[in-house]
Structure formats: structure tokens, C-alpha cells
């Protein structure tokens, strides 16, 4: 049940207000424009939650590294010579310069170009030019690159936490683990990999709008009219059953997975590389997709195979990771750089066992919908930027309404907003705990 009494405080002065008796839920538009809110989010969310760093498959060999920004910090995600995966803060212990300025590679050492300090791939200090000028109290062994306080992974998805006292990752992920399992179960060995080629683009909108948008199936008809049209042109039935009252061909659900995580869980109608054929894939692919399905059934049983193959799931791991398992699998991470600007990084994920043809099909399916050149994502970006522009009038039009489906809490569809409310309640609770 998505909407339960929370025993929370009166609504006065809050940024999120709800009234279960009146079926009212609204979010103050100030949360999308305020610098003060963003600063509090940094402390209450990004400095305390488990934040996605990267996937084990990105670091195949000892010395492999990726540099990226995580929770506002420059991070080296690296596999040491000892095989251990680490997240190091990419800042020289001497005077702060970035010690690894490349996007990715294999490192024998990290070299600070400012004064020439070098570090091992595991972060330990390697050499300090002119070291004998330091006083005796200087302890070189304490000058290694700083490791993030916590780094843990669940099925190869690595998250960091800047709060030393945080609960362990698996506890934090709560019900989201089941939905990560449904993704990784696509691989016969349970091993998925990030496919090469990254999509990095900005959206001139508040980051929370992408959380909402990633799981909001209500917007599909209006925002993605041209994508629906493309699917129809390709021979896919996109019409809701007559008199069903549905907006989309199937009735899906929005779900609360605990700790602010949420997902949609929709009977598939738009095809899945693993494993539901649609005409877009072409007749040639039919037998192959049926074979993938047989493998799933043999390995997982009929029921579990159907869960993996016949449902689309857009999953939000609170606060800023989205794994969409739909036309293809995308891992999408985003971070605010200003109240009205976010950086988005998106990858494709696939089973390591895929054949060339299967991989090509997965990537083709990905690009039809997702990404900055897809038939859908650019219109999402436009919608979010348009909303952000509307929030310029946040003082005049103060509230967003998110009450869809509140009068039937036990039966919320994917086009209702019950699962969006899950995010906002968690957001509110963490922000208020901090205040």
C-alpha cells in the first residue's frame, strides 16, 4: 500500500504537504529553484545516502580506472594491483590538484602535475620530490590519496557513502535488491556489463525532476507521442484495450521498495531484448529471442522467467540512480550542479554472454527510445526544462500537485503518482531530520 499514515507534523511551512483524508499531496515549487534547498540536499542526501559510483565490469584489470564526479566530489574509481576496487578522492594530499586528469585508462601510478607527487593505483603514496626538506614530524605514509569512508557493492553495482555510520548497502537498498536481481538474472551467469560508449548531457532543470520523470508513466501519451507513433508504424500495438480506462496498452503498477526507492512494474508491450520479440526487431530475430527465453525458463523456471522477460521496470534507487529495464537496460546517474542544472550520465547494460547479434539488437533497441539522440529522451529533457522555466513563477504558483491515485491506495497504477510520492516522503523526512 503506497499511501499510509506517517504520523507526521502539521503541514505549515513545509515543502511537501499531504493530507491522506483529503487525498491531497503537493510539493512546493521552491524546492526546484532554491539554492538553500540544494545546500541542504547536499548535506542531508548526498553526504549521507549510498550514491552510485560505477559497475565492476568497468574495471576489468588491475590498474583500470575511471574518473568521475560523485556526490559533488572528483573520484577515481579504480581496481588496484591487489584486485581491490576502491573509490579514491582525486585530489593531491599536498595542495589539492587533481592527480588523474584522464577519463579512463590503466594506471601504473597517478601523477600530480603540480609538484610531482605520485601515488600507487591503490592510493598509497609512491614518491614525493625533494622529500628530505620535510620536517621529521612529516609522515609520508599518511599522505596517500583519501579513500571514501564507505564503498560497497550489490551484484557489481558499487555505491559509496560519505557517512561512516550509515547502514550497510544491502540494508539501505531494501526492496530494491529484488529489482536489481531481475536485471542481473537476464545473464546466465548473473554477470552484466556496462557496454562501452557513455552518454553525458546536461538538463537545465532541477535533478529531482528527472527522478519523477524516470518513473512517471502518465507523461508517455503527451510527451512521447512521436515515439508511440514510431512504434505503431513499426507494427506494435500501442492502443489500450477498449473500455479499460487505461492510457497505455497494459496496466502496470507503481511500487514502494522502502527507504525512498521505488519502481514501476509493467506488463511489457514494447518488446524486450531478453526476451520478448516485437516486429521492430525483424523476423530474423524471432528464433534467437525465443532461444534466449528458453534459457531463462530452464534456468529460472517458468514463473521467474516471466518476471524477468515480460515486465518493464523503471527503478529509482534513492536519491539519484535510475535503472530502466525496458526496451533495453539503461543505468542513469545524475547530479545537481545548480538548482536549475544537472549533469546526466547514462550507460547501456547487457549480459556478458550476449552474441554479436544480440548485443547489436540491444543497442539498437536502446537508441530508439533512450538517450540524447533517441526518439523519447530529448522530449523528456524539453519537458523538464519547460517545467523549470515555469517554476520561475514559484512565488506566484506555489505548489505542484501529485495526488493522482490517492483515493485508491491499494490499487495504484503506473500512471498514478503513488510511487512518486514515495520519493517525496523520503526526501521530506531526510531534509527535515537535517533541519
Amino acid at each position: 500500500m503506497l499511501d499510509q499514515p506517517h504520523g507526521h507534523r502539521p503541514n505549515d511551512g513545509l515543502l511537501v504537504r499531504e493530507d491522506l483524508e483529503a487525498n491531497m499531496f503537493s510539493v512546493k515549487r521552491e524546492v526546484f529553484v532554491s539554492k538553500e534547498v540544494l545546500e541542504r540536499e547536499q548535506q542531508a542526501l548526498f553526504d549521507r545516502c549510498w550514491i552510485y559510483v560505477g559497475h565492476a565490469s568497468e574495471l576489468r584489470n588491475p590498474g583500470d580506472f575511471k574518473t568521475r564526479w560523485v556526490a559533488g566530489r572528483p573520484i577515481i574509481f579504480v581496481r588496484g594491483r591487489d584486485g581491490e576496487v576502491r573509490a579514491l578522492i582525486n585530489s593531491c594530499r599536498h595542495r589539492g590538484a587533481i592527480v588523474c586528469r584522464e577519463r579512463e585508462g590503466n594506471a601504473r601510478q597517478f601523477y600530480c602535475m603540480y609538484h610531482g607527487w605520485t601515488y600507487q593505483p591503490d592510493g598509497r603514496i609512491k614518491s614525493i620530490p625533494g622529500e628530505d626538506a620535510y620536517p621529521p614530524s612529516f609522515d609520508r605514509n599518511r599522505m596517500g590519496l583519501m579513500e571514501v569512508p564507505r564503498l560497497e557493492h550489490y551484484r557489481d553495482f558499487y555505491f559509496l557513502n560519505f557517512d561512516r555510520d550509515a547502514v550497510d548497502l544491502k540494508t539501505y537498498l531494501a526492496g530494491a535488491t529484488e529489482y536489481i536481481d531481475l536485471v542481473t538474472d537476464q545473464s546466465p551467469s548473473g554477470r552484466m556489463e556496462i557496454i562501452s560508449g557513455v552518454q553525458e548531457y546536461d538538463i537545465k532543470a532541477n535533478w529531482k525532476l528527472l527522478v519523477e520523470n524516470s518513473v512517471d508513466d502518465y507523461h508517455l501519451i503527451a510527451t512521447h507521442a512521436t515515439w508511440l507513433n514510431y512504434m505503431r508504424n513499426s507494427g506494435v500495438n500501442m492502443t489500450p484495450p477498449k473500455d479499460s480506462g487505461l492510457l497505455l496498452p497494459t496496466r502496470g503498477a507503481g511500487k514502494d521498495l522502502g527507504n525512498g526507492h521505488l519502481t514501476t512494474d509493467n506488463p511489457n508491450y514494447r518488446g524486450r531484448p531478453v526476451a520478448r520479440w516485437i516486429s521492430v526487431y525483424g523476423e530474423d530475430a524471432k528464433a534467437d529471442i525465443e532461444a534466449i527465453r528458453r534459457e531463462l525458463v530452464a534456468r529460472l523456471g517458468e514463473q521467474r522467467a516471466a518476471r524477468v522477460a515480460d515486465t518493464n521496470r523503471n527503478l529509482v534507487i534513492f536519491p539519484n540512480l535510475v535503472i530502466n529495464d525496458g526496451s533495453s537496460v539503461t543505468v542513469r546517474n545524475f547530479y545537481p550542479v545548480a538548482p536549475d542544472l544537472m549533469h546526466v550520465t547514462a550507460w547501456a547494460l547487457g549480459p556478458v554472454e550476449e552474441t554479436e547479434a544480440q548485443r547489436a539488437r540491444r543497442l539498437h533497441a536502446f537508441l530508439t527510445f533512450y538517450g540524447p539522440g533517441g526518439f523519447a529522451t530529448p522530449d523528456d529533457v524539453t519537458a523538464l526544462e519547460s517545467a523549470q522555466q515555469g517554476y520561475s513563477a514559484w512565488r506566484d504558483v506555489e505548489w505542484n500537485d501529485l495526488s493522482r491515485g490517492m483515493d485508491h491506495p491499494e490499487d495504484q497504477s503506473n500512471t498514478d503518482e503513488g510511487h512518486l510520492r514515495v520519493f517525496w516522503r523520503r526526501w521530506r523526512d531526510l531534509m527535515e531530520a537535517r533541519a
Binding site: 552518454q199 512521436t226 507513433n229 547501456a348 543497442l363
Partner: protein
């Protein structure tokens, strides 16, 4: 040097590229399609892997013929929100080079600079280079494969690649 029948002169290739730029800037997309072969493809590689193969790497755009036609249908639709109203674009095509024809394909390269303007937004500049494969169909040069490789390290403030680059 190849014969004019097998290959193409730079003047001929420039005429084709300049005509293409004019049609794309003018949003005359049906006319633009006539410059392409019936089995033409269109690629924009990812910014971090500009030399990659779309079968193994996630591209920004990797359109086979069917999807390229659908892309044009989408771009002409007022429900293509990102390009409605259509962006104003202006393309500069320079440094045109014509490679050695082989197997009926003429490889060409050119640099491009595209300014894209939308109301209330600062202009976005798409810089990069083209790699095309041309074919001669009934004596006429047509685009068989077009690859637009962006120089930007990441799309970042360029946002989406929503018009034909």
C-alpha cells in the same frame, strides 16, 4: 588518381554537401532524403568513443534506413517537442577531402560547424567532422552512409542531438 566515373571531384562533392546543408538548415527534410540512397544510414558516435562500431558500442545515434525515415517523420511532427518550433541552424562545411573510391563507394571527409539557435537560449555550437560514403546511382552522387563525429568531450551543454547533425 581515379577516373571521374569511379570517383568524384571535390567540386562535385562540395556541391552535394552545400546542397545538403541548405536543405537541412531549411528543414526541407523530404528533399534532403532524396540526396540519400534508399539504404542510407546515419551515425553519431558517442563523444568518448568517436571511432567505435555501433554494433558493440552505445552510440548517440545509429539509424538504419528504417529508423532514419522514422526520424524524419518524427522531426516533421509538431509533437517532436524538442524541435518544435524547429531550431534555427546554420552549417559551415569546410576542409572537404575526397578519398579513393573502392567497391563502388567514395569516402569523403569534411569539417563542420553548426550553430543552433532557439528562442530565449544561448546558441549551441556543434563542431566536428563528417565521414561519408557516397555512391553513384544513375550517374548521380548519393549519400550511402553519413557519420557526424562531434569534437565535444561530452555533450554537456549541447544537450540533445535532436536535429540532423
Amino acid at each position: 588518381m581515379s577516373s571521374p566515373q569511379a570517383g568524384a571531384t571535390r567540386a562535385e562533392v562540395e556541391d552535394l554537401l552545400f546542397r545538403e546543408a541548405e536543405l537541412l538548415d531549411g528543414w526541407k527534410l523530404d528533399d534532403w532524403m532524396k540526396l540519400l540512397t534508399d539504404d542510407a544510414t546515419y551515425y553519431v558516435p558517442p563523444n568518448d568513443k568517436p571511432d567505435a562500431d555501433h554494433r558493440f558500442t552505445l552510440f548517440t545515434i545509429a539509424d538504419d534506413t528504417v529508423r532514419l525515415r522514422e526520424r524524419v517523420i518524427r522531426l516533421k511532427d509538431p509533437n517532436c517537442h524538442v524541435e518544435y518550433p524547429p531550431s534555427r541552424t546554420r552549417r559551415m562545411i569546410t576542409n572537404v577531402r575526397v578519398g579513393e573510391a573502392a567497391g563502388g563507394e567514395i569516402p569523403i571527409a569534411a569539417n563542420f560547424l553548426i550553430y543552433r539557435h532557439r528562442r530565449g537560449e544561448p546558441p549551441r555550437v556543434f563542431a566536428g567532422h563528417y565521414r561519408y560514403k557516397l555512391k553513384r546511382i544513375d550517374g548521380e552522387l548519393k549519400i550511402f552512409e553519413r557519420r557526424a563525429i562531434l569534437d565535444a568531450e561530452e555533450l554537456g551543454p549541447l544537450g540533445s542531438v535532436s536535429f540532423i547533425v
